[in-house]
Symmetry: C2
Subunit: 374 residues, 2 copies
């Protein structure tokens, strides 16, 4: 199957659709669990699938360092390596070079960084980032970009945005698209509307299969994030998927769907699950809190994900307090299940042209908070 | 259902049979995964079930300290608490008091020990051990015993054995057997044949639903373990199940089955799995070894457990080297799957009166070692 995107319904700026990829169909709005080191932490692939995920994200930065892209290719590619036969999107490594690597030097040709694993100096160019993603065999590849933290001086934001555009062109030239695989460009420009608009315009001129909004979820306020999305999305082709990278909280996701975003990824559901926090329609719940110790009720007896119905709060509390691995495993899956329930709810609401009511009811549920103690 | 035991077949001293319990049937020889803190570490109950397990072991010592037996009872019992609707055997806490607790004092009436969790002084009497197991609602309860390390002076072994016998009587009086639940006695006596024989005789006089061999896997050699089993089993009623506590390696298990043991429990498959070691028909395999880094072959393409077929050695190596939680999860399940495959193989061989051939072929497979590198 060749990559394609089909809009199914729209309700205001919110859209639902379908991505077709070489490894299957992705329903949008879509949340992509993050499989950092070729694994969604703690979860077998069939468990990830059972949460409702259509597509995973793999991290080029991590996989290039260990086990290595050439090795994964020799083993049949990332899908076979991690036993996930469904769609995979890989990032380009740019974000982790910023957030994880030691000493790094950005040059026109490439970024040179010190591996966080063994201290080796490693080069990553736009061409190598694409080559790595070709080797991994992801269904959707991302251009290499330079992602900077906010706030930052305008000149610095502009420099990184212009460099990212030149890297976008080089990425496009390097990408072969074999087997129907897709390449997305990444809009940069920080919190500056003019720079964001210029970035989007130039990327559309180059022409990509989809467009991502990068450089958010890097320390800015929710208001800034939403304003940037409001600025960028209208500048993107409506017949291409719009991907908001690294976002976010359930509220961030609902608000971004309302503004025309189709795809998300974030470590939050699994990372917070490992720390004893559950995401539910009652908001985030800290299961380490003693209030749950004797509570026989499940997290949410109306959840579409069995894990949220089959275990008592008392049991999840016990696992979290005891630092039992199963607590991390169950809460990671429960949280992914909630994120999938949220995007599935959005898709259904958009199709029924009642997204505003869905959004209001969802926000109201979180604002009301957890069910009272009995 | 009331507890009962039915012998199906015998081949030499090896037996296959069926335990009926209030929560279902257990095929013997049976391996019981250990669910220490109300969880088999890292594995959801449906995963444990999928490995082929009929019955779990729960630890009285751990559960009495956290979350507490009264709390588990108020939450509907251990089966509901951990979402495992199948049979559960609970130990009496005696072994962990020896191996985990701080300062401890053995008295006629009870053992007093310092909790390894919070330093509190806790009393455990035979009556309280039974009360805790009643509250947990296990299908099979164990008497409280005093378990000592070997080697030990004969007088010390005899003292502990005699105390364990008096505790056996008190355990039997305290046990209500409601709902068809069973109580097992525990043979002690260290490595002394006369003491073992005396212990077995006295326990049979008291009368139990099943008989365990305790005080092994505490530092003695495999030869001593086998000799003690040879001494004890003939002294036990052949129409009751024989349970070898805390054992062991795959070889220990095959050799004990050959000597008339029906039930086993051990943390080895899950603990070693967490450390990157897989049990297979080729023997134990350390997946952290670099030889596996590029090996696309599964651990064992003829395994009856999917996890041993679905993931390459290269992937399991990557997970283990990266300290990824999924490595611990997959290898724990793969190892439990192998232990279940082993006991299932033994059951089939006994039924077909070819247990000696099964034992020889299994030992030969381990002795031959891992498949060669390609």
């Amino acid at each position: 199957m060749e990559f394609s995107f089909r809009l199914i319904a729209a309700d205001g700026a919110a859209r639902s659709g379908e991505l077709t990829t070489p490894h299957g169909v992705v329903r949008t709005p879509a949340f992509m669990p993050v499989g950092t080191q070729a694994t969604v932490k703690g979860l077998a692939p069939e468990t990830v699938r059972a949460t409702g995920a259509d597509i995973l994200l793999g991290n080029t930065y991590h996989l290039m360092l260990r086990p290595g892209a050439e090795r994964v290719a020799a083993l049949g590619g990332l899908h076979r390596f991690m036993n996930w036969p469904h769609p995979i999107l890989t990032d380009s490594g740019g974000f982790q070079v910023m957030s994880l690597a030691g000493l790094r030097k950005i040059q026109e040709r490439c970024v040179i960084f010190r591996s966080h694993l063994d201290g080796a100096m490693v080069e990553l160019s736009p061409e190598r980032a694409i080559e790595i993603q070709n080797l991994l065999g992801s269904d959707i590849a991302m251009q290499l970009d330079e992602c900077i933290k906010l706030p930052a001086p305008r000149a610095e934001i502009e420099r990184a945005m212009q460099l990212s555009l030149r890297w976008a062109e080089r990425s496009k030239r390097a990408f072969d698209g074999q087997g129907g695989r897709a390449l997305f460009g990444i809009v940069q420009g920080g919190d500056d509307p003019a720079l964001r608009a210029a970035s989007a315009r130039s990327l559309v001129d180059i022409g990509f299969d989809g467009y991502a909004v990068g450089g958010l979820a890097v320390g800015e306020s929710p208001d800034v994030m939403r304003r940037v999305i409001d600025d960028v999305v209208p500048a993107l082709p409506s017949d291409r998927p719009h991907y908001l990278m690294g976002v976010g909280t359930p509220e961030d996701i609902v608000e971004a769907i309302a503004r025309g975003i189709d795809m998300f990824d974030c470590v939050m559901p699994t990372r917070n699950g490992r720390h004893g926090v559950a995401f539910t329609r009652y908001g985030a719940i800290n299961l380490k809190n003693a209030r749950h110790a004797d509570d026989p009720r499940p997290l949410d007896d109306e959840s579409s994900y069995p894990g949220a119905r089959d275990y008592s709060r008392a049991y999840l509390h016990h696992l979290a307090k005891s630092n039992e691995m199963l607590g991390a495993v169950l809460l990671s899956a429960i949280n992914l299940g909630y994120y999938q329930q949220l995007t599935a709810g959005a898709r259904a609401a958009i199709a029924a042209r009642r997204f505003d009511a869905f959004r209001a009811a969802t926000l109201e549920g979180w604002a009301r908070g957890d069910i009272p103690l009995r």
